[in-house]
């Protein structure tokens, strides 16, 4: 039996505010355990949470950036469950009246854009952290993370493959980073993702039973976990079994998902409106003000790169996949102010390749946009060939020299003097009189051989266009 895959994602973004959502403690990662806590985030009785305006501001930004309606008033609710990292016994979240609803974003998969619906985005507090490793009979609880503000974005079940899910998560991460409301560091749990996945026989309208998956803290793990789960569910269904609605954890070391059955209570959260927080009013003025503050978003930037720089959809998409990369590219183009396509090729090819090799990211790139622009300029004005440019790139990378300094110091300037080129061609033709005769007899394909020989003799420094021209002339003169 063939199945269709149905996936929905829940993305949690920790907000880069200066204080937690309901108290004045710092939410910054990395402090000693429990140093950033107070009676409010420790959940002491009798304390009152007071909502951080910056969290609502970030919620409006995220909502506008994903074409959501902003709900006013929106309402906080208590979600009840017991776990040691949740000191109050409930999490303050939003339930049926979240701040953002009915949005969407676009993903690009296999050259096609697809619109993915966003059911909602809501504000909530993060829980603390439990530690078990190396401990005997006890667990340790660090409540620094308790009360760190989160936005949770819930997608519609519109995703149809692991590739689409990864593209969606990348886009969501990209948007919150562009907005400057979240660092998007998945390793640190700054951006987290749960997935709901089900299969249904091809042609069937109703969704199958869904499984919720957790603990996928990288794009790679998300893809692997979904691929594993598709295989697992396919096998269960093909053997006549039924899918159990449950939560499964991705085990990255073993490459499998594992049922959490028995480790969690049934989902009966007994939501109720949070009596300690008044419904949140958001004025139209506030929304208008946020609209004005919105930076250029990934899709807009991508479209502008296409039209302004004449790039393909694919190239523009890759270059705008992070704000840093987009900025680097634009600075490089502006430094030289010509050849956006050549610049694009160098950024996406040589530069990204080198950074990947070194395990460095673009924001730590040792080559400045001005240095790369100098190299592109040297290619464009014919000072060096594209081939030699790779040598120059390798020598330039990691230094504080300019491209021209490297080119001159290494004597790599392209040979564009016709007399000098002729002097390289003549010996090649003299040494291959049989091939010259064959060429003149009609074996046109031999032309490439001569070009190769001349380029080799010039150590790659001959101007390839001029070599072509002069070769044709000199060959003809031997006819």
């Amino acid at each position: 039996m063939e199945y269709n895959v149905v996936i929905g994602l829940e993305v949690h973004c920790q907000l880069s505010t200066r204080t937690k959502i309901f108290c004045g403690c710092s939410p910054v990662f990395g402090a000693e355990p429990n140093r950033q806590t107070c009676p409010i985030c420790l959940g002491h009785p009798g304390v009152l949470p007071v909502l951080n305006r910056a969290v609502v501001h970030a919620g409006i930004m995220a909502g506008l950036a994903t074409h959501c309606e902003i709900r006013s008033p929106n309402v906080f609710s208590r979600k009840h469950y017991f776990y040691p990292d949740l000191p109050k016994g409930y999490q303050i979240s939003q339930y049926d009246k979240p701040i953002c609803e009915h949005g969407h974003l676009e993903i690009l998969v296999d050259g096609e854009t697809k619109r993915i619906g966003l059911t909602r985005i809501h504000m909530e507090e993060d829980a603390g952290k439990n530690m078990h490793e190396g401990l005997d009979g006890v667990s340790h609880v660090d409540l620094n993370r308790a009360g760190v503000p989160l936005l949770e974005a819930v997608s519609e079940p519109d995703l149809r493959s692991p590739e689409e899910a990864v593209a969606y998560l990348k886009k969501m991460r990209n948007i919150v980073i562009y907005l400057g409301i979240c660092d998007g560091n998945m390793e640190r749990g700054n951006l987290r993702c749960d997935a709901n996945i089900s299969l249904r026989p091809k042609g069937q309208k109703e969704f199958g039973t869904k499984v919720e998956m957790k603990n996928m803290n990288s794009f790679r793990f998300l893809r692997q976990a979904l691929e594993y789960e598709i295989k697992r569910q396919t096998q269960v269904l093909n053997e006549g079994g039924t899918i159990v609605q449950e939560t499964r954890l991705w085990d990255a070391k073993r490459g499998v998902t594992e049922s959490m059955r028995g480790k969690e209570m049934a989902h009966d959260y007994r939501y109720l409106p949070e009596p300690d927080l008044a419904p949140v009013m958001i004025s139209d003025d506030w929304i208008e003000q946020v609209k004005k503050e919105l930076p250029e978003l990934p899709d807009d930037k991508r479209n502008r790169f296409e039209s302004e720089y004449g790039l393909s959809l694919y190239d523009a998409d890759v270059l705008t996949s992070t704000r840093e990369l987009a900025d680097y590219y634009e600075q490089t183009v502006k430094a030289f102010d010509k050849a956006p396509k050549t610049t694009c090729n160098w950024v996406m090819g040589e530069l990204m390749g080198r950074l990947n090799e070194d395990g460095t990211s673009i924001d730590a790139c040792p080559m400045s946009p001005a240095q790369l622009a100098g190299l592109v300029a040297a290619i464009e004005d014919g000072t060096i060939s594209g081939k030699i440019a790779k040598t120059v790139f390798a020598k330039l990378f990691g230094t504080d020299q300019t491209a021209m300094q490297v080119i001159e110091a290494e004597g790599l300037v392209q040979e564009s003097d016709p007399t000098a080129i002729d002097a390289m061609i003549t010996p090649v033709l003299d040494a291959n009189t049989d091939k010259v005769a064959a060429y003149l007899g009609g074996k046109d394909k031999l032309f490439g051989f001569f070009v190769g020989q001349v380029m080799k003799a010039s150590k790659g420094q001959a101007n390839p266009q001029l070599v072509n021209e002069r070769l044709k002339a000199l060959l003809a003169s031997r006819g």
Binding site: C25, S26, E32, V50, V75, K97, H140, P273, A278
Partner: protein
């Protein structure tokens, strides 16, 4: 409206309360009575009246994103039955 004893047990479990059989029986009666009392509200016609989430008016009662000092860690931990390495120590959660 009545609350059966199995519902009382379920609610008790969700609230992590341990009840004796006698308590379950008496709570079942109490809770049924309370619900019956509240159910009198259903006699009113509330068509077109939006649900009230909060007694206070909705508003922009928010604070600025300005940090304030946290509690001294020792004070925060002082109320915990068991403390280890600056953490609250609790019975092991996962086997």
């Amino acid at each position: 409206m009545s609350i059966e004893t199995n519902e009382v047990r379920k609610i008790a479990q969700l609230a992590r309360l341990e009840l004796t059989d006698d308590e379950v029986t008496s709570l079942s009666a109490d809770m049924s009575n309370i619900l019956a009392y509240i159910a009198q509200l259903n006699e009113l016609d509330t068509t077109g009246v939006p649900p009230l989430e909060h007694a206070a008016e909705a508003g922009e009662t928010m604070r600025d994103d300005t940090p304030r000092p946290s509690l001294e860690r020792e004070r925060g931990l002082s109320v915990a039955p068991k403390v280890e390495n600056g953490c609250f120590a609790v019975p092991k959660i996962i086997e």
